[in-house]
């Protein structure tokens, strides 16, 4: 009897211990050995990325034959939660995919600066700023992400407007929208602000038409004057999209991903501030609106002296974790993941505007050509410069602006406080 009880206890203790072990993550998905690198991302599981991963692996194998590379695709909505847990435990993957901006800047303490390894790629790739903090670069850009204003040329034609000449001033833009709504019944903007993302896109797309170039550069450099009349003006325009009924109905309960995109695709709205890569972008819209009927316009000018430009940043990029055994080898893998061959496959299959500006995109339609042509004069997107905390607050305040329960003055006051605290 006693014997049996002891065995039972040993068995249970053993089970409990192995249970603990697997709860903290098994060796295969975290922490590479000397001869193995583990990559975390949310892309490699998709069929459209298969060729990209293959090319990158092949390129890396040329440099390091003996090092094995394992890609672990995590679900995106859990990604930063899982990564946060791995960072806490101090043993995560060696190479990590990041979104540019706040997501990587909040976590640079756990990352290896890459400046000494990626010097040769500086000129070929664009979008480095989104992965830099304090003068150091922490990831190499794979795609570019930005916020072009797409418009539906077919709706312009039906309203009797010239689709080749979109509005260049805000007044003209409002007049065009009024004509389109009157003639076709379509709204001006497809807007989805359920997650508070609508305001982020709006801020970035409109800022270059409102802020002076000096104000814009200061904003990106972190010197943001929330009380300046031009910053207020952006939020006044946002409020106007609600009061003047420019948005589709129920913007606060419409999800940007993907209900707002669906509104634009089904020609229920003439304009949408979309993305450049991955989703809600030219490739998606081309399918519904056709490449010939999809246009991209620069922000309408609101204040004199503003020079409209395309807002974009490095979209996603690979970083190297601090705890990796040999940073040089890991950095080589990052360089393979951003090689021209690999990125060409990514552009062709996933429909992303990649960071490599040498890739030819002319066969994808006029919208893409406009976007890529605007990259040279483009500037970083204003919302990407904000901390995740400030963005979260801005999302909620923007919903209040649309529902009319807060004033613009109050919004900029709260944003100023959150921006300095964050």
């Amino acid at each position: 009897m006693k014997q049996r009880a002891v065995w039972a206890a040993v068995l249970v203790a053993g089970l409990a211990l192995t249970g603990c072990g697997s709860a903290t993550g098994s060796g295969s998905s975290s922490g590479g050995s000397d001869k193995k690198l583990v990559v975390w991302d949310w892309k490699s599981g998709e069929a459209s990325s298969a060729q990209y991963v293959e090319k990158a692996k092949a390129d890396f194998a040329k440099k390091h034959k003996d090092v094995e590379v394992e890609f672990v695709a995590q679900p995106f909505d859990q990604y930063y939660t899982l990564l946060g847990a791995a960072i806490q435990s101090g043993k995560g993957p060696d190479v990590i995919l990041f979104n540019g901006g706040g997501q990587i800047r909040d976590r640079v303490d756990s990352l290896q600066p890459l400046d000494e390894y990626v010097g040769e790629d500086r000129q070929r790739l664009a979008g480095w700023e989104a992965f830099a903090k304090g003068g150091k670069t922490y990831a190499a850009p794979v795609t570019l992400q930005g916020h072009p204003i797409y418009y539906n040329k077919a709706l312009y034609e039906r309203a009797g407007l010239d689709p080749a000449k979109p509005a260049t001033t805000w007044q003209e833009f409002l007049a065009n929208c009024a004509t389109i709504t009157q003639k076709t019944g379509a709204k001006c903007f497809a807007q989805g602000n359920k997650e508070g993302i609508g305001i982020q896109f709006f801020l970035s797309a409109m800022a270059s038409g409102v802020l002076t170039p000096q104000e814009y550069d200061n904003w990106i450099a972190g010197k943001r004057d929330w009380n300046s009349p031009n910053v207020k003006k952006i939020f006044e325009l946002w409020k106007e999209t609600g009061t003047a009924k420019l948005n589709n109905d129920g913007a606060n309960s419409t999800a940007m991903f993907n209900d707002a995109f669906a509104v634009f695709q089904s020609a229920k709205a003439a304009h949408i501030i979309g993305l450049m890569s991955d989703i809600g972008h030219w490739k998606d819209f081309n399918e519904f609106i056709t490449p010939e009927k999809l246009g991209v316009m620069m922000a309408p000018t609101v204040t004199s002296g503003a020079t409209p430009s395309l807002p974009y940043d490095g979209g996603i990029g690979y970083a190297v974790a601090k705890w990796t055994k040999d940073p040089k080898v890991a950095a080589d893998l990052v360089r393979s993941l951003t090689s021209t061959d690999a990125l060409k496959a990514f552009y062709a299959n996933a429909g992303a505007i990649t960071a490599d500006t040498t890739i030819d995109v002319s066969q994808s339609g006029p919208a893409v050509t406009t976007i890529v042509g605007a990259l040279k004069t483009g500037k970083p997107a204003p919302h990407v410069a904000l901390s995740s905390k400030a963005l979260d607050l801005m999302g909620r305040l923007s919903q209040q602006l649309l529902s009319g329960s807060i004033s613009v003055d109050d919004v900029v006051k709260q944003m100023a406080a959150a921006d300095t605290a964050g």
Partner: protein
């Protein structure tokens, strides 16, 4: 001699290793800092942050709202179970149909109601046919929380209904017959016969519904409102998830978890006390 200890060892080990120890680690973690102060002890700073955060205050207010709505959430399955027990026409059909939503996952339920309640969705079309203006069910901060709770009740009342039906099975039908012979109306039957006989069942449903509301609305919130609009549908669990996963503030999330744990402990103990008292009356 050692046998009793060896026999309880598995249960104690599992509790201590997998429950109590992580719990203590979590509480300890809530007294450390985030970001630049990672790992440093910061005393009650996280708790002060929490109490000052209007979002967390809103989440706690919503917990209060859930407690207030609890009687409604219990009354609905109770009333429907009563009708089934009293054999309204079609009661067999209703018995199976009412339980059906309980087998759907919250994500699916959320997705269905996202479509139904969208601004240009069917619910607003039907209201429009009666001349009632469209309601932005999930976009109006005064309405959204009620919409989500309503959907949660719809999705989960089937389970409570089954518990009520089980309670009815123990009801002495002679009492009902006697009441009918005495000429009692339906409301009188419910008030004077059914409710007193089902006290313990009702209490049990209260406890389980409360726990369900506080711990399993995450999926619905995530799918239907993402905490919005204007942060009006935050609950503590959603707040914890946002702080840990999106804001990269795990220590603050730990503090919020500790507060939620204390709330659940207090609610649980109060309910236990109520149940014990009711048990003594029997």
């Amino acid at each position: 001699m050692l046998a009793p200890f060896v026999l309880v060892a598995p249960a104690v080990l599992i509790l201590v290793l997998l429950r109590l120890y992580p719990l203590l680690l979590g509480v300890n973690f809530s007294f450390t800092g985030d970001g630049d102060r990672d790992g440093a002890m910061v005393g009650f700073d996280n708790y002060v942050d929490l109490l000052r955060d209007p979002l967390f205050q809103g989440a706690l207010r919503n917990v209060g709202l859930l407690v207030l709505l609890l009687p409604v959430a219990v009354a609905i399955p109770g009333l429907l179970a009563t009708f089934i027990y009293l054999r309204v026409p079609g009661h067999r059909f209703y018995r199976s149909v009412y339980f059906f939503p309980a087998v759907l996952s919250p994500v699916i339920v959320g997705a269905i109601f996202n479509l139904l309640l969208s601004f240009d969705g069917p619910v607003n079309s039907i209201l429009g046919a009666f001349g009632i203006g469209p309601v932005d069910w999930l976009g109006d901060p005064d309405v959204a929380m009620f919409a989500v709770v309503g959907v949660h009740v719809w999705a989960t009342f089937g389970m409570a209904l089954v518990v009520f039906l089980a309670g009815f099975a123990t009801l002495d039908s002679a009492l009902l017959d006697a009441a009918r012979v005495d000429g009692a109306s339906l409301t009188q039957v419910i008030w004077h016969v059914i409710i007193p006989s089902l006290t313990r069942t009702i209490q049990f449903v209260f406890v389980t519904t409360m726990i369900g509301m506080l711990t399993s609305m995450f999926g619905l919130l995530y799918v239907m409102t993402s905490g919005g609009p204007e942060g009006s549908t935050y609950l503590p669990e959603y707040y914890i998830w946002i702080q840990q996963g999106q804001m990269n503030r795990p220590a603050l999330a730990s503090a919020a978890s500790t507060v939620l744990f204390v709330i659940m402990l207090v609610v649980g103990l109060l309910q236990l006390k109520l149940l014990r008292r009711a048990g003594r009356e029997d």
